[in-house]
Amino acid sequence: MAAPMTPPTPPASSALMIEATGVEKWYPNGFHALRGASLTVRRGEVVVIMGPSGSGKSTFIRTFNALEDFQKGSITVDGITLSNDVRQIDAIRREVGMVFQQFNLFPHLSVLENLTLAPVLVRKRPRSEVEGQAMALLERVGIAEQAGKFPGQLSGGQQQRVAIARALCMEPRILLFDEPTSSLDPEMVREVLEVMQALAHDDITMVVVTHEVRFARQVAHRVVLMDQGEVVEEAEPETFFTAPRHERTRRFLEQIL
């Protein structure tokens, strides 16, 4: 699982996987969460989104798989434009995996069943085949021996690794991470980041909301700063952390570095 520590080479001009333009969102209570946020992500790219809490970064990536709706702007994911059409939303969700801060494993199902549920139900694949793939994925994230256990019996780090494997089992083209290490004990952050780092070397497109500076420096192709519902800065990791162009980025970096 130990991935090379050098940042992977940024992909050439490959296809656009996510194209969000001028996204605006108001919550029902009137809070203006997104104020014209825009972002493009190319195939195979790893984009890290940082920003102070309440800056709208979670809300933003949750619009990519329609967990949050938005009022203005447009989002195109893997060639499908997000609208209110339920079938399109389901089609997008099949191609976009998501890993949550709170893991959100299904506590009433075993680890293996957590992985096999969606491929069997949604992709209609034969159970035996999916189980083989699920075991291989669990092997890959280093917890194959826990396949028969229930999520409540695992540590936080193990649960998050299961959650990553669960998302991968649907063979998504895009993986969204919503603060995947924020609710983990410090000693468990590493094991999850290592799994994510290994993933980054695959073809998969990743958008990661995180506060892990080291991960952003070593793995990301681009780092994005969001503040007050808009994208403030967008740069390669080296530039972002050493020579940011915007004052707000500088202030943010002073607080976290």
């Binding site: 798989n65 967990l67 389901d90 969700r93 099949r94 976009v96 995996g97 998501m98 949550f100 709170q102 959100n104 494993l105 299904f106 506590p107 009433h108 075993s110 549920l117 969606a118 139900l121 949604v122 992709r123 028969g148 256990k149 229930f150 999520p151 409540g152 019996q153 959650a163 669960r166 998302a167 649907m170």
Partner: protein, 418 residues
């Protein structure tokens, strides 16, 4: 996860039995006096009851009416059908109980000959009930023997299924749950007749049979209706939501007895004449609609307890709203709501006594009929005591079953044993 129990503590650190008794009954002098007082009170009540039961009570009233209390006026020649049904139920109950235990858990290696402690308690209760209930009804010895046989079959199957059930595949285990509705339909056929069996009119069903039949019918059908109402109440469609709210609040605001009278009088007008059910089934439908409103509230509290992230995780994996509800949200909600729902079921079972007020001969109605007979005047205490034992037995087994299910559904429960 193995629970650290007494067995794991080194024996040198374990207090002696006498010391444990002292610690639990009389940690201080005041507690000791309280314990002594309570023990004395219990002894006195027990002695009084025993002396009444042996000396003054006249149990002939039970012996003469035992079959009436059990099955009402069900024709003698057809009663084999009820025994067959009881036998099938015992087999199915034993299998389900054992296989519930054998359900594959985290650690399959822990298997032994001993039953887990809770199961030993439950088995003891089943044994006690099998001895107490026929005795309480003063059944003839051959009939008592049949009850004992049924209980023995139930326990033997529990043991066998628990011992060898782990070798079955998970999907085979699921089939046992599906057998219950099949068995239920078969039971209705056996009781009511038709399709080759002579018909027994519902007016002839009575006693414990009618009580259990109506209660189980109401439980079985009010459950899905309650889940639908609970989902309706949380729906984003205003019409569905308000419809559910009005229904639930109307039913919960009206006493069951008024609903039963309404049902007897109005249901006949509402439905086309061919479909209008007879009095027994009219009451059954009222019970279903009544219980569903209360169940809906229990399920709603369960739904509220499932974190929002569960639905989001399911949806982000591509599951449709319906799939996410059925596979992820509802199973977790039901587990939370289970204790409340069983409480409602127990209340429902006791509510069936109201049927005697609309003239149905359920267990209480039959007993009141017997008490009204001049021949048995002055023996109501004996009858009431037996009724209490019977109702307690039914409710206790519901409670035991629910607690077993609860533990089994707990994802952190201990691994399989026996």
């Amino acid at each position: 996860m193995p629970q650290p129990g007494l067995a794991d503590t080194p024996s040198s650190l374990r207090p002696s039995p006498l010391r444990r008794l002292q610690r639990s009954l009389a940690p201080t002098v005041a507690d000791g006096l309280l314990s002594l007082g309570l023990i004395a009170l219990l002894l006195w009540v027990g002695l009084q009851l025993a002396s009444w039961a042996i000396g003054r009570a006249d149990w002939a009233v039970l012996q003469l009416n035992s079959m009436l209390l059990l099955v009402g006026r069900y024709p003698l020649a057809e009663q084999w059908r009820l025994w067959l049904l009881a036998g099938l139920l015992a087999v199915q109950a034993g299998l389900s109980w054992g296989l519930l235990r054998a359900w594959p858990r985290a650690d399959r290696s822990l298997q032994g000959w001993l039953w887990p402690r809770h199961d030993r308690i439950a088995a003891l209760c089943v044994g006690l009930l099998a001895l107490l209930l026929p005795a309480a009804l003063q059944l003839a010895l051959p009939l008592q023997a049949r009850w004992w046989l049924l209980a023995a079959a139930l326990l033997a199957l529990r043991w066998a299924a628990g011992r060898w059930g782990t070798r079955l595949h998970r999907h085979q285990l699921r089939l046992v749950g599906l057998l219950w509705p099949v068995l239920y339909l078969a039971g209705l056929w056996l009781i009511g007749g038709g399709l080759g069996l002579p018909r027994v009119a519902s007016g002839d069903w009575g006693g414990l049979l009618l009580t259990l039949l109506l209660a189980s019918f109401a439980m079985a059908l009010s459950f899905p209706l309650g889940v639908l109402l609970a989902l309706g109440r949380r729906s984003s469609l205003p019409l569905l939501r308000w419809g559910s709210v009005v229904y639930i609040e109307f039913i919960r605001g009206a006493p069951l007895i008024t609903l039963l009278f309404i049902g007897q009088n109005i249901l006949g007008f509402l439905l086309p004449s061919g479909l209008a059910p007879d009095r027994v089934w009219r009451a059954a439908w009222v019970l279903i609609f009544f219980a569903a409103a209360y169940l809906a509230e229990a399920v709603r509290s369960g739904l509220a307890a499932v974190p929002r992230g569960q639905l989001e995780a399911a949806r982000s994996l591509g599951l449709s709203q319906a799939q996410a509800l059925v596979q992820v949200v509802i199973p977790q909600a039901l587990r939370v709501a289970l204790p409340t729902m069983v409480g409602q079921f127990i209340a429902l079972l006791q509510d069936t006594t109201l049927l005697s007020l609309i003239g149905l001969l359920d267990l209480l109605g039959t007993a009141r009929g017997i008490m009204a007979n001049p021949e048995f005047l002055g023996h109501s205490s004996e009858l009431y005591l037996v009724l209490a034992v019977l109702y307690w037995g039914c409710c206790a087994s519901l409670g035991l079953g629910s607690r077993a299910l609860e533990r089994r559904l707990d994802p952190r429960s201990e691994p399989t044993r026996g």
